[in-house]
Structure formats: structure tokens, C-alpha cells
């Protein structure tokens, strides 16, 4: 089920909301949130509910086991076992085909004729997200950062919470634990107004901006060999903003929906195209993923302790795996490596404390970072490496080619998106010190109305991050 669908807005959400607030106890609300999460998820394909239920059960059991276990060695195994289960499921469903295909290709290259059977498995939607939810829960429980919950329904509600189930943000249990525990005493009215305002803001980003850009980006990039230099730049810039507003819109809607149920979901995007450098970009883009990668991979690898080269190695490993997390394709691996190289390059140039870049004008840093990020999106969007190379070739050499007739409209949309991304307040800035004034609520209502109109038109599209 999509947030930007009529069935969600006019059936699922009102029913879920009204029943939730008519329930009295914390336990009842946990059960209801779990049930609705499975309905939300199962609407896409009910078979994969079993997979999510299995992951939930394994991690919950491990959490309970950690509660009573003091022996460090046993605790370590209790942590490792469920993580292996989670990663095996993720590996099977997401990467099995990719690895066997890659091994076959490598075999062919070396003349070995590997001919391993390639599995084309359907990727369960959101598996990358809920797997990270359960893994971070287990690791935090092992580290003693959180106390594992004794309530199965509280944990079930955490994993299957519909607002962040299929495309994040990756909410760690510790970030939402208090709200889940107090969900029976949440304040309905204040959550509803601010939640609606967040939802409308997210709708604006996703339905009005991202989907309008997609109207041009998708057909243009489908015919990328025919695009010249200008056309390719326009298409890639369009995608740059489409991706941002699409994913940011989803995250903003998730925050709004969470607030409507008394749950505070953390910020996932903080105007990333204002970033001054690659390091700053990763503090602003998909914050929940980059902090998970930092806390559960980069720091355990050694982080920036030790020599510079040790830190560079850790950065590269983290970013490569971060790239691979996004999809089983070499384009994502290259994208991760590219961003790893940007971070290494930035740390190399800036010095340990950034002293070498302190004199750099802010606007220049923003511009360079933005262009570098745009180049990276080429790998992110391309179906394969030859497509990425051809797009880059078209961008950086003068190529004659067709410029579709709607180029002016598309250019105007990109300009509007750029202005919003760079200068307008993001959703959390807009809602700082939020008061449900008449103007604010009327604005939210108008945006919701316009978004519903566009959803009922023919252009509504699924969220880009569903594929991850």
C-alpha cells in the first residue's frame, strides 16, 4: 500500500486512526499497530508477512534471551545468531541472484564456465529496512544501550509500524522506545494537527514536486541515447531533485503519520543539497542510514582511530557496503565506492580537523558538492554501468542530440525544485515551534487537496526507495 494512494488515505488511515484512539491500554494499541502493519504490508503480497513475522520472532526471542544472560560468550552468540538469520534472509532475497550472476560472469571472464544456477527471487518490499530495524535492536540490546522489551506486541509494533515499514526511516528502538512504552497515554489532538501538517508537507514533496519531475525524467532517461549534452544534464538534474523529494517526502509523511499515533520518528533529511562538502552531505542525506552505518559498521571497524590510511579504509568499506545495501547491482557498488572516494578525498584535502577548507567560500563548497553528488546519481539511476558511462559521456562532452519539446516546462520545474531544495525550509525547520494557526492548517489542507487531485490523476507513482 502506498501513502499516496486513495485506499491508504481514505480507508486504511482513517480506520487505523479511529480504532487506535478508541483503544485504551498500551497493550491494545501495540496489538493494533502490529495488525495494521501486517495489513499494510500484506496488501502488496501477503506471503511475505510470514517472512517479517519470522524475523520479528527471531529477534524478539534473542532480545529476551539477552535479558537473562550475563555470560559474555553466550551473549555474543545470542547476538550473532539472529543477525546471521537476518543477513541470510536479506542475502538470499536480495543478493543471491546478483552474486551467482557475478560469479558466472567472472567464471566466463577467466574461462572457467561456472554456470551456477541463477535464482530470480522476488525481493520482498522493505526487507532492507526492517532487517536493519531488527539488527540494530539486537546489537543495542547486546551492548546494553537498550533494555530489550518483554512485550512481544511492543516489539511487533516497532518492526511492523506501517509509517516506517517499507521505506524507512531506519528507526532504532532506542529512538522510539519511550513513545512506544507510553503509547497508551499519547496526546491525540496535538499529534493530529502537527501530524497532518507533516503529512501535507510530505505530500507536497512527493506528489507535487517529485511525481511532476518523474513525468519528464522517466521517459527522457528511457531514451537516453538520443539525448544530447543539454538533454542529459536536464534529465540527470531532474532525477537529482526527483529522488530527493521522493524519498524526503516519504520520510516526512512517515514522521507525520507517526505523530498522529503519538510516535516521534526522527528526521531523515536535512536539506542535503545545502551541504558544504561530502562529509556534510552524509550528515544531511538519509540520516537514519548514515548514522546506522556509522554506529554499527564504521566505528566497529575502527572509525577514525588510528592512522589516516586506516580511516580511509574504513570509510571505503562503509560506503561500499552502503552502496550495496541500496541494491544488488554493480551500479550501486560503484556509487558507494564513488562516495567513499569523495569522503576520502575530502578528508585528505581538508586535513584532520577541516582546517584546510575553512577559508573556502561556502557557496563554492555547496556548488562543488552538489555537482559531485549529481554525478554520483548517474550511477544510482543507471540500469547498468554502460548506461552510466554513456550518460557521463554525454554530460561531459559536447554531444548533439534531441531536446524534447517539453524542455522548457521541465527546466522550469527543475528550477522550482532547486529553489525549494536550496532556500525553502525543510519539513523540520518549517515545523519548529509549530502552532496550528489558521494559515498553517489552511495551507496543509490546500496541499492535501492538490495532492489528492494529482493522485487521482494518472501520474501517481510508487516511492523510489521501495526498490531498496
Amino acid at each position: 500500500m502506498l501513502f499516496n494512494s486513495l485506499i491508504f488515505l481514505f480507508a486504511f488511515l482513517p480506520v487505523t486512526y479511529l480504532v487506535f484512539w478508541s483503544l485504551r491500554s498500551t497493550r491494545q494499541r501495540h496489538i493494533w499497530l502490529t495488525i495494521t502493519g501486517y495489513v499494510f504490508y500484506g496488501y502488496w503480497d501477503p506471503r511475505f508477512c510470514l517472512l517479517m513475522a519470522f524475523t520479528t520472532l527471531v529477534s524478539y526471542t534473542a532480545g529476551r534471551a539477552l535479558l537473562g544472560e550475563q555470560d559474555p560468550r553466550k551473549r555474543r552468540w545470542i547476538m550473532i545468531a539472529p543477525i546471521c538469520v537476518d543477513l541470510s534472509l536479506l542475502g538470499f532475497f536480495k543478493y543471491a541472484g546478483f552474486f551467482t550472476r557475478s560469479l558466472n560472469d567472472l567464471g566466463d571472464f577467466l574461462g572457467w564456465q561456472a554456470d551456477l544456477p541463477v535464482l530470480d527471487v522476488i525481493l520482498p518490499i522493505g526487507i532492507s529496512f526492517y532487517t536493519f530495524h531488527t539488527i540494530t535492536y539486537i546489537v543495542d540490546a547486546y551492548r546494553g544501550v537498550i533494555t530489550p522489551t518483554r512485550s512481544f506486541w511492543e516489539f511487533g509494533a516497532y518492526v511492523s509500524l506501517f509509517s516506517q515499514l517499507v521505506a524507512g526511516p531506519i528507526v532504532r528502538f532506542r529512538q522510539i522506545e519511550k513513545d512506544l512504552e507510553n503509547v497508551g497515554h499519547a496526546q491525540r489532538r496535538s499529534g493530529l494537527t502537527i501530524g497532518l501538517s507533516f503529512l501535507a508537507f510530505g505530500m507536497f514533496e512527493k506528489v507535487i514536486v517529485a511525481d511532476s519531475l518523474a513525468h519528464y525524467v522517466d521517459p527522457w532517461l528511457a531514451n537516453y541515447p538520443e539525448l544530447g549534452t543539454a538533454g542529459t544534464w536536464l534529465a540527470v538534474l531532474g532525477y537529482t531533485f526527483q529522488l530527493y523529494f521522493d524519498f524526503s517526502g516519504y520520510s516526512t509523511m512517515a514522521v507525520g503519520l507517526g505523530l498522529m499515533f503519538g510516535l516521534r520518528i526522527p528526521q531523515n533529511f536535512n536539506s542535503p543539497y545545502r551541504a558544504l562538502n561530502p562529509s556534510d552531505f552524509w550528515r544531511r542525506w538519509h540520516i537514519s542510514l548514515s548514522t546506522v552505518m556509522r554506529d554499527y559498521l564504521y566505528i566497529p571497524l575502527g572509525g577514525n582511530r588510528g592512522t589516516r590510511w586506516f580511516m580511509y579504509r574504513n570509510l571505503m568499506i562503509t560506503m561500499l557496503l552502503g552502496g550495496l545495501w541500496h541494491g544488488a547491482n554493480w551500479t550501486f557498488v560503484v556509487w558507494g565506492a564513488y562516495h567513499g572516494a569523495l569522503l576520502v578525498g575530502y578528508h585528505f584535502v581538508s586535513g584532520k580537523d577541516g582546517e584546510n577548507t575553512a577559508r573556502f567560500p561556502g557557496w563554492l563548497g555547496q556548488l562543488i558538492t552538489f555537482v559531485l553528488v549529481v554525478v554520483g546519481w548517474v550511477f544510482f539511476r543507471a540500469h547498468d554501468l554502460p548506461m552510466a558511462m554513456e550518460l557521463l559521456h554525454n554530460m561531459f562532452t559536447v554531444q548533439a542530440g534531441s531536446l524534447p519539446v517539453e524542455a522548457l516546462q521541465f527546466g522550469l520545474l527543475i528550477l522550482l525544485a532547486a529553489v525549494i531544495a536550496r532556500w525553502a525550509p525543510n519539513s523540520f525547520e518549517y515545523h519548529e515551534k509549530f502552532r496550528p494557526t489558521m494559515v498553517r492548517m489552511a495551507t496543509a489542507a490546500l496541499i492535501l487537496g492538490v495532492s489528492i487531485a494529482l493522485i487521482t490523476g494518472s501520474r501517481a507513482s510508487p516511492f523510489l526507495y521501495f526498490q531498496f
Partner: protein
């Protein structure tokens, strides 16, 4: 994040003021729906914000008694050209050195209103671009019955002086209980102004996107057919292709072909294809039953049989009159995945049909012995 602390210490709002506030919120949402629909149509389809395009607005009454296309009208993704036909503008007078191909048909040829330029005449226009100049005129409009083609051609279409006239007759209309007259009474055409709800573009979007659940829809159709059949004698229903209706179709098609030739144009017939097999499969019945809302007199089996018999008769007429025939029925009938319902093509099928026409027109025409 600035979670609000509003209302802290304030008296609780009364029920009435809350109701008013949420009522106002709902009204603004509704206004946003309409505004959004209009701005969306304007930005992506160039439909003026203040206009109220409707299906009936695509037409205007003609002195002949027919409704004809209203030049430059719009509705959904439909753009009517300067000649009142779906497609881009075409010069009023024939362009020197250009062939002019005219398409006559109903909704199958007009195409879906939700998508622009997917209908087979539009695809053909793209296929022929870059070759010798051909002007494509798509005069089809939904609901026109084939027995009125002849009169419509004489009254409105012949003046465009086509070289070729492609006919795609919706043969199932010959099964209407009471056949409409071959030509309407002159001066009787009416185009009703749209009602208030029809003027709300969001309502139209909502109608388009809302789907009646399949079981409910099946029940509605079944009840409707039951009402139409109730009280009729047993032999009233067509259980196989009725010979008299085939004869009428045969005669009128021959007359139309002659009319076209009399105006100096060459007719080309496309046989009418359907999704179902002649002896319907279990999965064919739902499509046939849905069509019975328009033609309740034949049974599902009778309707399928008539469609196949009509295609055979069309081939026979083409052979007798030395008319070029493009056998769409032979190529597509019975292939469920080629259609979205009993008679309308998928976008891929529109492309296939356009390709069949392009190929056929490269082949030499049949000659009289």
C-alpha cells in the same frame, strides 16, 4: 523538533467550534482538489484553468442531424484538431504532394481518453513520419454505429477529399434491439450542456480512479440484463448470429464502399476483432456479459458467434467488391491479452494494428479480374 505544546492551560474547545474548524479544513481540502486538478491539466496538457471540458463538449450539433467534433475542444487527454477530429491539426485543404488517409470508426479507433497519441491512427502517423507525406485524419468517435457511416461520410467527411478511407466497423452495434436509423433526422442533433458535477474536474478524476468492486459490478450487470430480458418471448434472444442482421450489415457496407468510391477515394476495410473465441471459454463470459449492457438481445454465445460471422461477412464483401482488407480479426480475435475488454485494444495492440496497416499499404492492392 518543536512538538507543539498548544492548548496547554487553555479551555477545551467546544464540540461545535471543533466541528466548524474541521469542516473548514475539509472545505479547503475539497477546494484544493479542484484547484489541483485544474492546474495539473493546465501544466501538463495545456487545458485552460477556467474551462470545463467534458465528453459532450467534444461535439457540436451539425445541420445533418449528426454530432461532429468541435474544433480545438479538449477532454482528458483528448485534443480535437481544427477539423474536429482527434489528433494534431491538419490543413483544411489537402497539402500538395500528400496522401490523405481518413479513418472511420467508433471508440476502438478513437482510442482511450486517458492516454494521448496511443490510438492506432496516431501510432500509424508516427510510423509513417519520415516517409512519403501522408495526412492522417481520425474521424472516429465513440458510439457511432456503423450503419450511419455512409450518411456521416456524405454529410461531413467527404469534403476532406481523402485518398484512402479505412473502415473499422463496430459490428456488435448491429445487434441492438432496435437499430438506429441509417441517418438521423436533419436538425435534430443535440449536445446537452454539462451539469454542475460534470464541471468539477476533480469529480471526473475521482470517477475515473474509483473502481466498483468486481463482484458488485457483476451483480449490477446481471440484474440489468435480467430486467431487459424479462417478459420477452424465448425466441427473442439471439443464440447464434442472426442472418437478417448480417444481411443488413452486408448491404450497408457495400453501399458505404460504393459511396467512398463515388467520391474518388479508395476504401480499405479492417475486420472487427474481439477478445473472445467463437465458442466462448469460461473466462470470455465476463467480457461478453459486460457488452450485453449495450446489446442485451444476444446471449453471450450469440454475441461471440455474431462477431465471428460479421468478420467472415466483411471479408466476403471485401472480396466481392475488390476492396483491400486488413484482417485484424484473423490476427487478434480470441487473444485475451491483446484487449482491455471485449473490443478495445491494449496500447501494444494499437501499435500492432498500426504496423499491420503500414505493412498492408506497402503491398499491392487487389485488382479486379
Amino acid at each position: 523538533m518543536g512538538e507543539s505544546q498548544e492548548n496547554a492551560g487553555k479551555p477545551r474547545r467546544g464540540f461545535l467550534s471543533g466541528l466548524l474548524a474541521w469542516g473548514a479544513f475539509g472545505l479547503v481540502v475539497a477546494a484544493g482538489c479542484e484547484l489541483g486538478s485544474r492546474v495539473d491539466d493546465w501544466f501538463f496538457d495545456r487545458v485552460p484553468v477556467t474551462s470545463n471540458p467534458t465528453f459532450t463538449g467534444l461535439f457540436m450539433p451539425h445541420a445533418s442531424g449528426f454530432r461532429v467534433g468541435r474544433p480545438y475542444a479538449r477532454w482528458k487527454k483528448v485534443r480535437v484538431n481544427n477539423l474536429g477530429m482527434r489528433g494534431p491539426d491538419v490543413p483544411e485543404a489537402r497539402t500538395a504532394g500528400c496522401q490523405r488517409w481518413l479513418f472511420v470508426g467508433a471508440s476502438e479507433t478513437f482510442g482511450e481518453p486517458f492516454v494521448a497519441d496511443h490510438e492506432y491512427p496516431a501510432v500509424l502517423r508516427r510510423l509513417l513520419a519520415g516517409g512519403p507525406c501522408v495526412e492522417i485524419l481520425n474521424s472516429a468517435f465513440p458510439g457511432i454505429v456503423p450503419r450511419q457511416f455512409n450518411a456521416y461520410y456524405k454529410a461531413e467527411l467527404a469534403r476532406h477529399r481523402p485518398d484512402l478511407v479505412f473502415i473499422y466497423p463496430s459490428t456488435h452495434f448491429y445487434l441492438k434491439e432496435v437499430l438506429p436509423p441509417p441517418a438521423p433526422e436533419p436538425g435534430t442533433a443535440r449536445v446537452d450542456p454539462p451539469g454542475l458535477l460534470d464541471r468539477l474536474r476533480f469529480m471526473e478524476r475521482l470517477r475515473d480512479s474509483a473502481e466498483v468492486p468486481a463482484p458488485l459490478q457483476r451483480r449490477r450487470v446481471a440484474q440489468w440484463i435480467e430486467r431487459q430480458v424479462a417478459g420477452k418471448p424465448a425466441d427473442w434472444q439471439y443464440r447464434s448470429a442472426p442472418a437478417d442482421r448480417l444481411e443488413i450489415m452486408d448491404t450497408e457496407l457495400r453501399e458505404f464502399l460504393q459511396t467512398i468510391r463515388d467520391t474518388g477515394a479508395e476504401p480499405v476495410i479492417l475486420t472487427h476483432a474481439v477478445r473472445v473465441q467463437r465458442v466462448p471459454r469460461a473466462e470470455d463470459f465476463a467480457d461478453l456479459r459486460a457488452m450485453r449492457v449495450y446489446v442485451p438481445r444476444p446471449t453471450e454465445e450469440g454475441l461471440a458467434d455474431f462477431e465471428y460471422a460479421a468478420a467472415e461477412r466483411t471479408r466476403q464483401v471485401a472480396a466481392d467488391t475488390h476492396t483491400r482488407v486488413i484482417d485484424v480479426a484473423a490476427r487478434l480475435s480470441g487473444q485475451r491479452d491483446r484487449f482491455i475488454d471485449l473490443v478495445h485494444f491494449t496500447p501494444e495492440t494499437h501499435e500492432l494494428v498500426a504496423g499491420m496497416i503500414a505493412d498492408a499499404m506497402r503491398a499491392p492492392a487487389p485488382r479486379e479480374n
